[in-house]
C-alpha cells in the first residue's frame, strides 16, 4: 500500500483517508485492468468490478456444482451444502415470495429473487474476509515487494474496498433490475397498458388524478432509490465503524508519541469493540441480503396484486 493509501502525510496518521481508501472503489487512474475508452466511456476494471466478477463466479460455480451433483444422485436426498441451499431456497420461496407475489407467479419470479439473495449475500460476506489484506502481508513480508512498487499486480489490487455492495453504483444497478422487473411483472400479469392504468385507483373524480398520477410516478422511482441507498449505506456504515475504532490504535500512538499507548488502547478498547462490531456485521450481512430480497418481492407483488 502506498504512503498515501496509509494516510501518512508528513508522518501523521490521517484516519479519514485510510478509512475512505478501505471502503471506496479503487481509482480509475490506476485500474486493475486497463481498457481503452469506448464511446468516451472508461470501461477499465476497478476493485469493485473485480469483486463483482469474483462473487458472480463463486456463486455460479458453487451453486451449479452442488445442484448438479445432487441431481445426479440415485436417491434425491440432499446432504451437506445442498441441505443448506435447499433450506434457504425453501425459506425464501415460502416466506417471502409466495405471500407477496402469489401462487400463480411464484415460479416465474423465484429464480430472479433467489439470485438477488445469493449474490448480495455473497458480495456482502466477501467484504468480511481479509483476503486482500493477507495477500498484501504475503507480498510485503514473504515476497519482500516494496509497498511503493506501482507495477506489482498485488500492490495494485490492494487499493480500494472489497465490499462491492458498499458502492452506490452496484446497488443502483441491482435496484434498476428490480425497477424493470416491477414493470415487466405488472405487464405480464395484466397487460402493458392495464399495468400503467392500475397505478391509480379507478372511479375517482378527474381533479384527484392530477394529484395522484405525479405522486404515483414519483413513488415508482422512490422504491428503487430506497433499495439503492439502504443496502450501500448499511454496508459502508459497518466497515467505517470497524475501521474508525481500529484507527484509535494509531491515533493514540501519535497523540502520546508512544507505541505502548496505541497497543494499550488496541488491546483494551479497539480490538474487543471491533470484534463485537464484526459479529454484528455478520448479522447485518444476512439482514441486508434478506431485506433487499424481501422488498423486491413486495414491490413486484404490488404490481401483480393490485388493490385500490
Amino acid at each position: 500500500m502506498s504512503a498515501a493509501g496509509n494516510g501518512h502525510e508528513g508522518g501523521g496518521f490521517d484516519a479519514g483517508k485510510v478509512i475512505l481508501n478501505h471502503v471506496s472503489n479503487s481509482s480509475l487512474d490506476h485500474p486493475i485492468i486497463h481498457i481503452p475508452p469506448i464511446f468516451g466511456i472508461d470501461f477499465s476494471v476497478t476493485k469493485h468490478v473485480l469483486m463483482l466478477w469474483i462473487v458472480a463466479a463463486i456463486v455460479f460455480s458453487l451453486v451449479s456444482f452442488t445442484v448438479r451433483k445432487y441431481l445426479k444422485q440415485d436417491r434425491p436426498i440432499p446432504s451437506g451444502f445442498m441441505n443448506a441451499i435447499e433450506a434457504v431456497v425453501l425459506f425464501i420461496r415460502d416466506s417471502i415470495i409466495l405471500p407477496n407475489i402469489g401462487k400463480k407467479f411464484t415460479p416465474v419470479w423465484t429464480p430472479l429473487i433467489l439470485t438477488f439473495f445469493f449474490f448480495i449475500l455473497s458480495a456482502n460476506a466477501i467484504g468480511m474476509i481479509p483476503v486482500f489484506d493477507l495477500l498484501g502481508a504475503i507480498n510485503r513480508f514473504i515476497l519482500h515487494v516494496d509497498a511503493s512498487d506501482s507495477h506489482n499486480f498485488i500492490n495494485n489490487i490492494l487499493h480500494g474496498g472489497v465490499t462491492a455492495t458498499a458502492n452506490y453504483n452496484v446497488t443502483a444497478a441491482l435496484a434498476t433490475i428490480t425497477f424493470i422487473t416491477i414493470i415487466l411483472a405488472g405487464s405480464r400479469a395484466h397487460g402493458f397498458f392495464t399495468h400503467w392504468k392500475n397505478l391509480v385507483p379507478k372511479g375517482l373524480a378527474w381533479p384527484v388524478y392530477i394529484i395522484l398520477i405525479p405522486i404515483e410516478i414519483i413513488g415508482m422511482f422512490v422504491k428503487p432509490f430506497a433499495l439503492t441507498m439502504r443496502l450501500a449505506a448499511n454496508m459502508t456504515g459497518g466497515h467505517i465503524a470497524i475501521l474508525a475504532i481500529l484507527s484509535f490504535v494509531f491515533i493514540f500512538s501519535g497523540l502520546f508519541h508512544s507505541a505502548l499507548a496505541g497497543i494499550g488502547v488496541g488491546v483494551l478498547v479497539s480490538v474487543p469493540l471491533a470484534v463485537a462490531i464484526s459479529a454484528l456485521e455478520i448479522i447485518v450481512i444476512l439482514v441486508q441480503a434478506y431485506v433487499f430480497t424481501m422488498l423486491s418481492a413486495v414491490f413486484i407483488g404490488m404490481a401483480i396484486n393490485v388493490h385500490h
Partner: protein
C-alpha cells in the same frame, strides 16, 4: 399458523419467525419508501437550491413533496384489504 405443543421449541420458533417475516414485508416496504421519498426529493430540492439559487424553497418543497409521496405509499399499505 397452528402451533403444536409437541413440536420442538426450535421448530416452533422457526415457524413463528416465518410468520413474522411474512407479516413484516409490507410494513418494511412502507417505512423504506417513506424515508426514501423524503431523502430523494429533499436531495433533489437541495441540488436545485444550489444550482438555481432558490434556497430554501427547493429544499422545503422537496421535503414536503417527499412527505406527501412517502405517506401516500404508507396509506396504500395500511388500506390494503
Amino acid at each position: 399458523m397452528a402451533f403444536n405443543d409437541d413440536d420442538h421449541f426450535l421448530a416452533r420458533s422457526f415457524e413463528y419467525f416465518q410468520k413474522i417475516v411474512r407479516q413484516s414485508g409490507p410494513a418494511a416496504s412502507a417505512s423504506y419508501t417513506l424515508i426514501g421519498a423524503i431523502i430523494l426529493l429533499g436531495g433533489i430540492g437541495y441540488v436545485l437550491d444550489i444550482v438555481y439559487g432558490w434556497s430554501p424553497f427547493g429544499l422545503l418543497s422537496g421535503l414536503i413533496l417527499g412527505i406527501i409521496v412517502g405517506f401516500y405509499e404508507l396509506i396504500k399499505v395500511i388500506w390494503k384489504p
